[in-house]
Every structure is written in C-alpha cells, then in structure tokens.
C-alpha cells in the first residue's frame, strides 16, 4: 500500500486509561482526514487488573481490517504488554514507561523483551504527568502526547479531540489533560527517532465529503433511525447494549418509543406485537438472548409478522466469553426454533454494511412479512471505521397496508406467497393471527393439504429476497473467472479475508474472494457459479466447527476447506494467508 499505513497498539490494565488514549488517538486521526479502523479488547470486569488493548490502524487508502502486525506498541502496563511485543514489526517502535509505579521483578519490564530489530523508547510517563498536572493520573495522556510528538502529528487536532471528550466535565479537567498531552509532546521533541514508521499527510476527498467515525453498533442505530424506527424493545446484553443506550437518547426526540423490557422473551414479544400493530419495531441482543427469542421468532414466521432482530455474537456457548468475539450463532440465526421456520438473515461485513442492513431489514421485514435477523459480532459491533454518510436517506418509508376485496384473506395463497396485510385500526381488515397452522382466513387448520400449501407459501415468498434491490446479498472480489483458490467468508472476518486475498494476489497466487451477506435464504446461484470457478474453496470463520462451511457445502453438495478459529480474537490475516499459500502449493502440485 502506498501512502500512510500505520497501526498503533496501546496496551494497559483496566483503569490505566488505555481505551481512552486509543479513543483520542483514533478520533484525532479521523478528524485529520485519515481512514481509520480501530478495535479495543477489554475484560468483562469494570475494574481490576484485566488487560486492555486499543489498536488503531491509520491509512490514506481504504483498508479492510486490522493488520496482524502493529507498527507501534505503547505500554501502560508492562505485564500485559510483554506478550504483545511480538506483534510489533521489525523497525517498529515500543514505547514504555521507564519508571513505572510498582517495582517489577527481573524480566518484568517490557524493555527486557524487545527484540534487536525493534526500537525502544523509554519515557517516564508518570513523573512527567506528576510535574505537569500534580498527579500521575494523566500518564496515559502524557504517553499519547509523546506518541504524537514522536511522529510529528499536529498537537492542535489532539487538543480539539481532548476538549470534545471532556466536554461534559469541568474545564479544569480538559485543561489538565491538555497540559499532560503537551508535556508528553515536548518530551518527544528532540528525541532521536530510530524507527522507520512514517505518518504521511492525509488525503482529502475530491467531493469534500467528510468521513465520520462510527462503530458497527453506531451504524446499526443510524440505519434503524433513518429507516424510521417506531418502537424498540430490548434487554441489556454485551455486546448489543450500546444499540439500546443510543436509541434511548435518540428515539424520544423523533417520536419513537424505546422500552427496556424484563427479559429477551418480552423484548421480542413486544417487538412482534408492535410489528403486528403496524410499527417498524426492532430489538437487539446477543447469542444467549437469541436463544430465548427462538420460540417467538417461530411465531413471527408462522403468523407472518414483520420484525427486526439485531444480533451481535460473542464467545459461546452459554454465557461463554461476553467481551470476546465469535461467529458461532449462524446455525441458531438461520435454523433456531421449532418447525420449518425460514426467516431472513443478513450478516454485514463492515460498518457501512451495518447501516444498510439495519435499515433495509425493515423494508425486507415488511415486503416479505417475516422476522429479519441482522447478524453482527462483537468485533464488528465495537470496531470503529471511518465512513462517508449517505447524502440522502436511502430507505423507503413504511409500506401501506389495508384489506383488499370484500372478504379479507390475511393469508391468501398468492403466486408470490405474499398476502395482503391489514393492521389493527383499519376497517374491513379485522382478522386474528395465530401460531397455530391456519387457513387463508387465519382460522386454525390442521388439514394435510393446507399445511403443505401454507409451508410452501412461507418458503416461496422469501425467494426474491436474495435479489432485493439496493441490498448486496453476495459479492465477489478480486480476479473474475477461473481461479485456483476461492475464499468464502461472512461477517466481520471478511475484512481479514480481503486483506489476505490481496496479499496472496501480490504474491502471484490465483485467487478470489466472495462474501455472503444473506445467509438465509442463501443466494445459491451465485454460490454455485463461484464454486464452479474455484478449484478449492476455503472458508475462514470464527467458530469451532465451521458453521458457514457446513451450511454452504450442505446446501450445494460441494466440498470446502474449513478454516475455523475460535480464540475470542478476530481472525489474523497471516493465518488466512498461510492457508491460502498451502492450498496454492497443493493445487500447483496436483496440476503437475
């Protein structure tokens, strides 16, 4: 990649201000016009000694994921940072506090672990903070100032971000933080820079559009709001809670209603109740909450009620690893629940996709009269990316409802499978819906022919969803036509897949990548064409057994190579690349 491409990693203990320093860094970089991808890893405990890492990748050209190597590691806690020294590339930098508060045992200093090709910068963050502000609490901001000074970043931009961050606090707090930043910055001036990390100037878009920085969950909120959400019902669960928290701020301002319910069962029940009454309604949860919602989702399918369920996956099963990422709820999203209950499942692959999928989920839910699940994971929910907001609201307003004809058949067996819909309050549309199998009028019926016809209707109506206008349900990247290696992916992992695919292409490997956004119903024709073009298809994903691999190979009846990884951390680009190289060598050997 030409231009700037620098990844910073800040590592500390919970309470050190690690995430705060990373936050100021990434916001300043975005403010300056760089493209930013950032992701924080933090423990489930609020205080205590858990490890926090904030990684910020700053580029001038589009990047798709974090890099597996960082250029700069800044340690606020040596015990936590030592295992991460290895991720710093050769000629990269390690910045650390050379006078930490506690006496560390032999080998406890990060400086003892720096390899000869990595460049160390030992600075006394604590004493600088003491001198500048009268206490040691500002050492994270001192460290940040040092980093900014070392790489020649403009201090004014940081001042602005610091002021924004502490806008709700007394002015003295902002002032102290600015003093701490300045003191760190000055300490860096005149430091002899040894590493080869270079920050070039940011590029500005020709159209003058300003990028904003957003998380996946933030983008979901924007999408729901722009699509005109009327009602939201939710129950707190990591990593979906921030969606409810933001909607609690924004919905009342726009006439919407946010209600925190007593559990996930009531959240989805009320969402479906509001959907029945004609509202655009949604809920958000994680895997354990989705498990509780399974029965109600089945009712949504059976009674054909529009609803939107945002699911942000985390490590499972059961309570699992609440603050770690994983893609292991695909099976439950696509198949969970009783009976033949097909629904629509969308899995965006980046922050912008979260916005589109969340908004379009309302359109799909109404057009196809079904629950729509939007499947994120913690890595996508919490990841920051710079995105350009759309100039115009891209979403359609609510569809008109109302009875048609003298006898209202709510579940009329139409060619498309979609029946006329009326909502309570509309004259002439009075009907009852039920989770029992029912006839065209909605009356309970367990006749064999009726069950066959109604099941077929509920499947048939979803078929056109894979070609829904304005929605990328599946897309191929890289070389067109026949290739040796195809990499198939979904969700947050697709960024790493793209980075690996581009690197493999640079190495001369014949390869191509495909993302599947619509997991149910599957865009089978496009998948068939991709498999026909690839000699081998590799499926990297963040779970133990390879859930997308099983879904696709089972649906198409074709073999795949699985690359399942469930460590709790995002997939590594080099891991995918290593597997692509291995497969490329194998196919080359087989061809000879």
């Amino acid at each position: 990649m030409n231009g700037t491409d620098v990844q910073f990693a800040i590592c500390g203990s919970a309470g050190d201000g690690t995430i705060a320093a990373g936050d100021i860094l990434k916001r300043t970089m975005a403010l300056m016009g760089y493209k930013v991808i950032a992701f924080d890893i933090y423990p489930a405990e609020i205080r205590g000694f858990g490890k926090c890492i904030s990684r910020v990748r700053v580029t001038t050209e589009q990047a798709y994921s974090l890099k597996h190597q960082s250029d700069v590691l800044m340690s606020l806690n040596d015990a936590h940072a030592i295992p991460h020294v290895g991720e710093v590339r050769d000629f990269g930098a390690v910045i650390y506090d050379n006078a930490p508060i506690a006496r560390l045992p032999e080998g406890g200093h990060v400086s003892a672990h720096i390899r000869p090709m990595q460049l160390p910068y030992g600075v006394s963050f604590r004493s600088i903070s003491d001198r500048a502000t009268g206490n040691a609490r500002g050492r994270n901001i001192v460290a940040l100032g040092y980093l900014a000074g070392l790489y020649g970043m403009p201090a004014e931009a940081f001042h602005q971000t610091i002021a924004n961050k502490f806008a709700t606090k007394p002015q003295a707090v902002t002032d102290a933080n600015v003093r701490a930043f300045e003191a760190g910055y000055e300490a860096a001036i005149g430091t002899f820079k040894l590493d080869d990390v270079v920050m070039g100037s940011p590029l500005h878009r020709a159209d003058g559009a300003r990028a904003v920085m957003m998380t996946g969950n933030g983008a979901v909120v924007r999408g729901l709001m722009d699509a005109g959400i009327d009602c939201y019902f939710g129950y707190p669960i990591t990593p979906a809670t921030t969606i409810m928290e933001r909607l609690a701020v924004e919905m009342p301002r726009r006439g919407g209603r946010m209600l925190q319910t007593e559990d996930e069962i009531s959240a989805i029940a009320a969402t479906i109740g509001a959907g029945y009454a004609g509202a655009r309604s949604a809920t958000a949860t994680s895997g354990p909450g989705l498990a509780l919602m399974a029965e109600m989702l089945g009712l949504g399918v059976m009674a054909e009620v529009p609803s939107v369920v945002i699911v942000s996956q985390r490590g499972g099963p059961s309570t699992g690893m609440p603050t770690k990422t994983e893609q292991s709820d695909l099976n439950m999203a696509v198949f969970g629940g009783a009976g033949d209950a097909r629904r629509i499942v969308l899995a965006p692959t980046n922050v912008e996709g979260c916005y589109r999928c969340a908004g379009l989920a309302f359109e799909l839910a109404e057009k196809f009269q079904t629950p729509v699940i939007v499947l994120l994971d913690l890595y996508l929910s919490n990841r920051y990316e710079t995105v350009i907001p759309p100039k115009e609201n891209p979403f359609e307003p609510k569809q008109a409802t109302g009875p048609q004809g003298p006898v209202f058949r709510r579940f009329e067996l139409t060619e498309s499978g979609v029946s006329p819909r009326a909502v309570p309050g509309q004259a002439g549309g009075v009907h009852t819906i039920t989770g029992l199998e029912h006839n065209e009028l909605g009356r309970p019926s367990d006749q064999p022919d009726n069950h066959v016809a109604m099941s077929a209707k509920r499947y048939r109506k979803l078929e056109p969803a894979t070609r829904y206008p304005g929605l990328t349900t599946i897309k191929r990247f890289g070389a067109a036509g026949k290739v040796d290696i195809g990499i198939l992916g979904w969700g947050s992992t697709f960024g790493e897949i793209l980075e690996a695919m581009f690197e493999a292409e640079n190495e001369g490997i014949s390869c191509s990548a495909m993302k599947v956004v619509m997991l149910s119903p599957l865009p089978v024709d496009e998948l068939e064409a991709f498999f026909a073009d690839c000699r081998v298809v590799l499926v990297p994903e963040l779970n133990h057994e390879g859930q997308l691999a099983t879904l696709v190979s089972g649906t198409l009846g074709r073999p795949v190579v699985r690359l399942p990884r469930a460590t709790g951390a995002p997939m590594r680009v080099d891991e995918i690349l290593a597997e692509v190289r291995r497969l490329a060598a194998e196919t080359a050997a087989a061809a000879e």
């Binding site: 806008a167 709700t168 904003v212 920085m213 957003m214 998380t215 969950n217 933030g218 909120v221 924007r222 009327d230 009602c231 019902f233 921030t242 928290e245 933001r246 701020v249 009342p252 301002r253 006439g255 209603r257 209600l259 319910t261 007593e262 559990d263 069962i265 009531s266 959240a267 029940a269 009320a270 969402t271 479906i272 109740g273 509001a274 959907g275 029945y276 009454a277 004609g278 509202a279 309604s281 029965e295 109600m296 009712l299 009674a303 309570p424 309050g425 509309q426 004259a427 002439g428 549309g429 009075v430 009907h431 009852t432 819906i433 039920t434 989770g435 029992l436 009356r443 309970p444």
Partner: protein
C-alpha cells in the same frame, strides 16, 4: 346479588338479545369449549362490554396466550393475536406501544398467566400499561387434559398430582395488588351479567386493569371449583368498602375460602404512554448527551 343469582332463560330473551346488537362482536367461529365451560361467559361478557362501551370492532385487539381460555380471539369479530404460551402481556404491551388509540385486551388462563407467564405480570402492572388483562382461572390445565395448575387447591388430584397436589396455590389477587396493578377486580363465570359489567369497567379504566374470573372446568374438575361450590362461596365486598384502600384490598384478597366479587382496588397514576410522552418532552428539552454515534 339475589338478582344475579336468578337463572337466565335464553328462550325468553332471544328477541332481546338479537335486537341488542352485541352479537355483532361474535365471529362465525363457534367456541371449541366443552358444553358448560365457564369460558362461555367470557364471550358473552366481552361482547356485552364492547357494546356497552360502544367500541368499534376494528379498534379492539384481543391478545391471548395458549390454553382453553386463550382460544378466545377466534370467537370474536375484533382484531386478534393468539400468541405463545405465557407471552400475552409483552405482546399486548407491544401492540399498545405501537398505537395508543387501540383498545387492547389480554386474555388467558391461570397456567398461561401464573405459571409460564408469571414473570411478565409485575412489569405490565408496575409500568401501568393501558391494557386490560382478563384471567379465567379454573385451577387446572384443560387443553392438555387436566394437570395441576399454580392455582390448584391443596389436595387436588390430577393426572400430574395422582397422590394429591401438595403445592400451596398462589393468590392471584394479592399478587396483582402487590405489584400495584392500578385496577383489580374479581368476577365469577356463574354471574355473567356482573362479569360483563366488570369487563366494561376494566376496559374503561385508564391504566393496567386486572380482572380475575373464577371459572369452573366442568370436564376435569368435578370436586373443587364447581358451579355448585362457587355458588355457595362467592360473596359481595362488604358494604362501605373503600376501593382506594390497598391494605383493605389485601385483606379481602386473603379471604380465599369466600371470594368476594367486585372492584378490589383502583388508583389513577400515569400510564406507560404518559411516561413515554414525558420522556419525549424531557428529551426535546435537554442537549444531546455525548457518547456513541
């Protein structure tokens, strides 16, 4: 009360019933309940109440769970949602949140309400969602052919308590009073006209109204909650009873051997919709809080 105890002969009243018009609220589907079931009084009471209140069919939504009582939406000519076992109240809350103008009536039996759905009752009550909850309590699971329910009496023999039920029955009225339902009443299926008046009053109440309806299961309970027994047990609330006195209501609710019929408790306080409106007002006045995007 004596007036209510007089038998009603449909033959004599047929013309009067036809002319009255409340039958318009009935659907073409015939109830699937057993002959003699107390739930028939629900169909009659509910339609009479809608007629009395003058609500049009399309502005009423009946939400039910699963069980004999929950089949009710099919038998009336209003909007209806026959949902899942125990989930009546959260679905009804969602319907009401979507459209304040609707009259939302939740209906269920004792198993639906107090066993699988018990966790939702405190929250619908404390939020004062402006809906009406009619629970037809027959002390047994009828649709699954006669098992013990949370309101089955001690010593009751069913297919799942063949050696007699040993679980203390819960007291629905005390439960609802404790959770501060803003209207709590009790009626009896054997007094259908009183029941109709009570349903009308419950629907007219602004806020969460809970009506407990004692109702015999003629098929699976031949010994305890029978018409014969209930006719002798039920009584009026004492004269001079103050329906705004929560402690007095609790006291009456404790007298389970002789259940009183009437309005136990009533209070006026903001509904969920009022709170939502107030939240919107506050949100409009305050600056956008920082954080997230």
């Amino acid at each position: 009360m004596n007036e209510l105890l007089k038998p009603v002969y449909l033959e004599e009243k047929l013309e009067e019933i036809r002319a009255d018009g409340h039958q318009d609220y009935r659907s073409r589907s015939l109830p699937t309940w057993c002959p003699g079931c107390g739930y028939f009084s629900m169909a009659e009471g509910f339609t009479l109440a809608l007629k009395k209140l003058g609500r049009s069919a399309e502005e009423v939504v009946v939400v039910s769970g699963i069980g004999c009582a929950s089949r009710f939406p099919f038998f009336v000519n209003t909007y209806g949602f026959h949902t899942l076992h125990g989930r009546t109240l959260p679905v009804a809350t969602g319907v009401k949140q979507a459209n304040d103008a609707l009259t939302v009536v939740a209906v269920g039996g004792d198993g639906d309400a107090f066993a699988i759905g018990g966790g939702h009752i405190p929250h619908a009550a404390r939020r004062n969602v402006d809906i009406t909850y009619l629970v037809f309590d027959n002390g047994i699971y009828g649709l699954t052919k006669g098992q013990t329910s949370p309101t089955s009496v001690l010593g009751f023999r069913t297919s799942t308590s063949p050696y007699e039920n040993g679980d203390e029955p819960l007291n629905p009225l005390m439960m609802l009073l404790a959770y501060r339902a803003s209207w709590v009443g009790q009626a009896y299926a054997g007094h259908p006209h009183h029941l109709a008046d009570m349903i009308a009053e419950a629907i007219a109440h602004r806020g969460f109204s809970y009506l407990h309806i004692l109702s015999p299961c003629v098929t699976f309970d031949k010994t305890t909650r029978t018409y014969r027994n209930l006719n002798m047990q039920v009584r009026d609330l004492p004269s001079g009873y103050d329906r705004t006195d929560l402690a007095a209501a609790m006291g009456e609710a404790m007298k389970v051997d002789h259940p009183a019929l009437g309005v136990f408790y009533e209070e006026s306080r903001p509904t969920l919709a009022d709170v939502m409106d107030e939240t919107a007002r506050k949100a409009g006045l305050s600056p956008v809080p920082a954080g997230g995007e």
